[in-house]
């Protein structure tokens, strides 16, 4: 009558679909939380989940319910100690854990609904308005890069991995060892028997031979049945083991103009730009060092906190940052040992005449050693409408354009919103996915 089923090994996560719908429902709040934590967090710890807090109101499931006040209520309560019939009792203060008042039916109070977003969900939403192609999203979100490597043979595996050569070789060895009569031999005997049977009146010798042949053919067939052509024992599968891709070390230089014209919005966009490059690099390299260089008319290496949050006043000389990068690189990150990436963000202002120096720095020193140098010019949305034409722009923009034409590892882009950031890395990602296929 009773039947036991062990369900423990059944697939888990039956409610992921519901969870996805839930997150979709509160998308606005989730995005807010993600944006806030992008602002708050360092570039390197972008990969954890985050806590999302949602006001109860936006999640209410209304229904016709009795109000908690008003009208006449009668009820029975347990645990009487000293009441007598007819006693009058003060009402408990509202909100206190007074007698007789239940909480909400589902046991939830009035606080915000708080839950944790997993790393994948976090990245999903972070990527959302960056407009990354799906392939890139997948390769960035994948937690480690592993590639199947050949690792000998195994006796089990999926049919797709059947190693036909090995299997047939083993089958042949077994057939020879067990003396399985070959097709040709059997055919010979059958032909001979057929010829004998065609004789009109066989003599005694022929009859004897026929009987012998029949016996032999039967024995051979039985033997063949016992020793099959291909036995499950022979099967060999190519075995693959996932092996992490060899990674190396990379250093990423973040260069940013911190003069007064860079406001919170500009810095926020710049941060997203840096985060994206960093995510890409951590996928590809074991260790990624970060160097933050900020500049006004002077450049200096700083820590991340200072880089994003403190303000400097002064003019703007971009070439100082490039010089500082070159200094740091030649002191600590020799190009022979490190893959060098640079990301520069600025609003395009530069001291007159300095752009020429930048061009020289880039072309004579930096671009020779950089894997990739990405430059974004952060502009206002109003400006974006005017500055459609890439051939026009500030002096710095024009100088960099010339560089971009000559150097394939230099990419530049005007950025007015988060969606504009990705294209500056397009080459980088494109090259990588080609390499992954090749």
């Amino acid at each position: 009558m009773t039947h036991f089923i062990d369900r423990r090994l059944n697939p888990k996560g039956r409610s992921t679909g519901n969870r996805r719908r839930f997150i979709g429902r509160i998308k606005a709040h989730v995005r807010e939380a993600v944006d806030a934590s992008v602002r708050k967090r360092g570039i390197t710890d972008m990969e954890a989940g985050t806590e999302v807090s949602v006001p109860r109101d936006s999640l209410s499931e209304p229904s016709f319910r009795h109000a908690s006040k008003g009208g006449l209520r009668e009820g029975v309560l347990p645990g009487n100690r000293n009441f007598r019939a007819g006693d009058e009792i003060e009402r408990p203060p509202p909100g206190g854990g007074g007698a007789g008042r239940k909480g909400a039916p589902d046991g939830e109070g009035e606080d915000d609904f708080v839950f944790a977003l997993s790393r994948d969900e976090f990245l999903d939403i972070f990527f959302e308005n960056l407009e990354l192609p799906d392939l890139i999203k997948r390769s960035l979100a994948g937690s480690s890069v592993a590639r199947p490597r050949r690792a000998g043979l195994s006796v089990t595996g999926s049919p797709a991995n059947l190693n036909v050569g090995r299997t047939m070789r083993r089958a042949m060895g077994r057939r020879i060892a067990l003396r399985r009569p070959s097709d040709a031999k059997l055919d010979d005997m059958r032909e001979r028997l057929f010829a004998l049977e065609a004789v009109f009146e066989p003599d005694a010798a022929q009859r004897a031979e026929m009987a012998r042949l029949q016996g032999e053919i039967e024995a051979a067939t039985a033997h063949r049945r016992r020793v099959p052509y291909l036995d499950p024992l022979d099967l060999r599968y190519s075995h693959f083991e996932p092996q992490p891709e060899p990674r190396a070390q990379a250093v990423m230089f973040c260069l940013m103009d911190v003069s007064a014209s860079m406001g919170a919005r500009e810095k926020d966009l710049a941060k997203r730009f840096f985060v994206l490059l960093h995510l890409f690099l951590t996928r590809r390299y074991d260790t990624v060092d970060l160097v933050f260089i900020r500049h006004t008319h002077l450049a200096s290496e700083v820590d991340e906190q200072t880089f994003f949050h403190s303000r400097e006043s002064g003019g703007t000389m971009v070439s100082t940052a490039l010089a500082e990068m070159h200094r740091v690189q030649s002191e600590r990150y020799p190009a022979s040992e490190w893959n060098i990436y640079a990301a520069q963000a600025s609003d395009g202002d530069n001291y007159q005449g300095d752009s020429r120096d930048c061009q020289i720095w880039l072309e004579s020193e930096l671009l020779k050693i950089c894997q990739h140098f990405a430059y974004v010019e952060i502009i206002g949305e109003a400006e974006a409408r005017i500055l459609r034409d890439a051939a026009r722009g500030t002096e710095l923009w024009m100088a960099y354009r010339e560089v971009a034409e000559r150097w394939p590892n230099f990419a530049m882009r005007r950025v007015a919103g988060a969606g504009d950031i990705y294209p500056v890395f397009r080459d980088l990602f494109a090259r990588r996915s080609e390499a992954a296929h090749g």
Binding site: H3, G17, L77, P78, F115
Partner: protein, 491 residues
């Protein structure tokens, strides 16, 4: 001395099977229980959380509110605020009973006796479940519902489906037939009937037009309104049922979605009316069976202590002024009442003879309880069987909280003058029709202004929660397509 069924906290499928057989023997031969065949499934904590979030059912259509439930429970569980249920049991045939893998063997024995025999017997014998649910078809129906909603999402977009479901969920509690059987109780022929329904709906659209013409000719407004209400089957207590049949704006698939939600609400309706009895029955059964096995020497003293420890934890009834108080514990009340019925049958006092002349001293407590389990619901069970002794033990007192008075008043306590009043008040508070708001569809002039008129009949002048009311009305407007009004009437 009989052999122990199990020893120590660890379990395996052998000990489970052996124990279940022993429990079943007591259940059948001693208590004479009649159960559906059991299907006991061992699940992990994560799967238990999954089951929590789909209202305890093994499968359910997808909706964000279940995701919310899951996240809520998962958070409480992982922070250690809330433990998980030891079991979940489903009113189906065979009766599915989920047991948590982390339970120790004594706990598994408790859970199996409790759910797989106690609840199971109650589901099979209680008249409400027999009359209103279809345990053989429910899983097929849920499977059908899930697939149907999945197809709807593909065809009409998840946003559309979500909107319809949100609105339907808001009306769910006001969408059960309380007094008559559902029009078509068989749930299994659902798929075949879907097509027929589309035809019917087309016909309904035709009658809309014929109505408009009729209005020009007729002058007799009163008579016509009555005829119209009659044609619509008004007044109607089941809101979704009315919308499903008469809403002028819904697509056929939306009507089908409403029907699914309504059927599920109806399926759970008996459970809402029999909480005390259902849990009381299960607790009584596990208590009796495990004690019997212990007497026979098949459960060790240590295991029995562990069982009694969780038994008394579940049955704890904090007083009204205890910080952990959250209403009367249905387990405690049901168990206390059923144990008392047993006592009254076996060793009655003079008081019991006065109160329960029919059963006092009859010694046939098995028959009395089985009759109660089969033919009562919470309200009538309390009305019939709540004894003065239980009232004294739980120290029950009646409290009256009227808006018009300055203070609350103790109406009656557990004394000679108060027993009847306490019993009546308690029974009334378990009457679902007084706990849930009484809302019905009054009128809808499809040929005229198309305003859907509802009436909320106030009981004891208790109003509706105003914010919830507005939000729910918005959902209703969504499904009706035109304005919706609600009036309040005193009973």
């Amino acid at each position: 001395m009989a052999e122990l069924l199990f020893d120590g906290p660890d379990w395996n499928f052998d000990t489970l099977r052996r124990t279940t057989e022993a429990i079943e023997k007591v259940a059948r031969e001693d208590l004479g229980l009649d159960t559906y065949p059991n299907q006991i499934e061992i699940i992990s904590t994560e799967q238990m959380l999954d089951a929590y979030s789909s209202t305890g059912m093994p499968l359910m259509y997808r909706h964000w509110s279940f995701g919310k439930q899951f996240i809520h429970h998962e958070r409480l569980y992982s922070k250690g605020v809330q433990g998980l249920a030891y079991e979940i049991v489903i009113n189906s045939d065979p009766c599915i009973c989920y047991c948590l893998e982390e339970n120790t063997m004594p706990m598994q024995a408790l859970v199996i006796a409790h759910a797989a025999f106690g609840h199971n017997h109650f589901f099979k014998s209680n008249h409400l479940f027999r009359q209103w649910t279809d345990p053989r078809g429910i899983l097929d129906y849920l499977d059908y519902a899930r697939n149907f909603l999945g197809q709807c999402e593909e065809r009409h977009g998840p946003a559309q489906v979500e909107r319809t479901l949100d609105a339907a969920h808001a009306l769910m509690s006001a969408s059960v037939f309380r007094h008559r059987r559902p029009a078509q109780p068989s749930l299994r022929a659902e798929a075949q009937r879907a097509e027929k329904r589309i035809e019917d709906d087309e016909r309904a659209a035709h009658y809309l037009w014929s109505r408009i013409e009729a209005e020009h000719r007729s002058q007799d407004h009163e008579g016509e309104a009555a005829a119209r209400r009659h044609a619509l089957g008004l007044p109607e207590e089941n809101l979704i049922y009315f919308l499903e049949r008469h809403s002028p704006v819904l697509d056929p698939w939306q009507r089908q979605v409403l029907r699914i939600v309504r059927n599920i609400a109806q399926y759970f309706y008996p459970q809402r009316q029999t909480q005390v009895m259902n849990e009381g029955c299960a607790c009584f059964v596990h208590f009796h069976i495990l004690n019997r096995l212990h007497e026979q020497g098949r459960i060790s003293d240590g295991a029995m202590l562990e069982i009694l420890h969780s038994h008394s934890g579940v049955l704890f009834q904090p007083g009204y002024d205890h910080p952990g108080y959250s209403g009367i514990n249905p387990y405690a009340l049901g168990f206390a009442m059923m144990r008392d019925v047993q006592r009254i049958c076996e060793a009655p006092t003079q008081e019991d003879r006065d109160w329960f002349p029919a059963i006092a001293g009859s010694r046939d407590w098995r028959g009395v309880l089985k009759d109660a389990w089969a033919n009562y619901r919470d309200e009538s069970f309390i009305q019939q069987f709540l004894s003065p002794k239980v009232m004294r033990d739980l120290r029950l007192f009646g409290l009256r909280d009227a808006e018009t008075e300055e203070t609350m008043r103790v109406t009656a306590i557990h004394d000679e003058g108060g027993y009847h009043a306490v019993r009546d008040t308690l029974a009334r508070s378990y009457d679902l029709s007084s706990r849930a708001p009484d809302i019905e569809v009054l009128d809808a002039d499809l040929a005229g202004d198309r305003i859907l008129r509802l009436r909320h009949t106030l009981r004891n002048e208790v109003p509706l929660e105003p914010r919830e009311r507005e939000a729910t009305l918005a959902c209703l407007r969504d499904l009706w397509g035109y304005d919706v009004e609600i009036e309040e009437a005193s009973s």
